[in-house]
Symmetry: C2
Subunit: 109 residues, 2 copies
């Protein structure tokens, strides 16, 4: 065993986990910060900025992209990585909604 049991969880719980996984590594937190901080979505600079090798950055970008949080043109010499702001906002809503629901009632010891 070692693989996550998905069948016992709800679609919402799995979705939360998938989004959270994006931020569950400091490199990806850093990458997203950098992408958003640049008006002109520079790409290869992420490698220099974050301090990991190019293949490793590429791998992290795939994880972020798989969650639908990236947007832009992915072909050509200079690839433009942009934030998918719409998706990002949706995710923010999901987190906030979950957080607010969770903080509902609790025994106060």
């Amino acid at each position: 065993m070692g693989a996550t049991k998905l069948s016992i969880h709800t679609r919402e719980q799995i979705e939360m986990a998938q989004f959270a996984k994006v931020f569950a590594h400091p490199a990806r937190v850093s990458i997203l910060q950098y992408i958003a901080s640049q008006d002109s979505c520079i790409c290869g600079d992420i490698v220099d900025k974050v301090g990991l090798s190019q293949p490793t950055i590429s791998q992290h970008l795939q994880v972020i992209n798989a969650a639908g949080l990236l947007k832009g043109s992915f072909k050509g010499k200079t690839i433009c990585y942009c934030l998918n702001v719409e998706k990002f906002r949706q995710m923010q809503e999901l987190f906030n909604s979950y957080f607010n629901k969770t903080v509902a009632s609790c025994c106060n010891i």
Copy 2:
């Protein structure tokens, strides 16, 4: 090789990742929802509710606890797992702050 490089990241990025890791597994999302939904912080029922073995639930609880999100009396027959609402709110603030900062400026393609 396998372990996360921590030295190249900021304290904030690492903190974000640590909190996000809590929600990066559907079982922990489910556990937190359950704990918060019960006024009386019942404990062993989590095992029945979530559908994983008792040791596995215990392991997940440790991860949540390590992030400081749990509170209560941890001794005796009936252990009372409660949400650390204060810490939870702090975390929510951290996420919201990060999200809002990140959605700042981006090329619009």
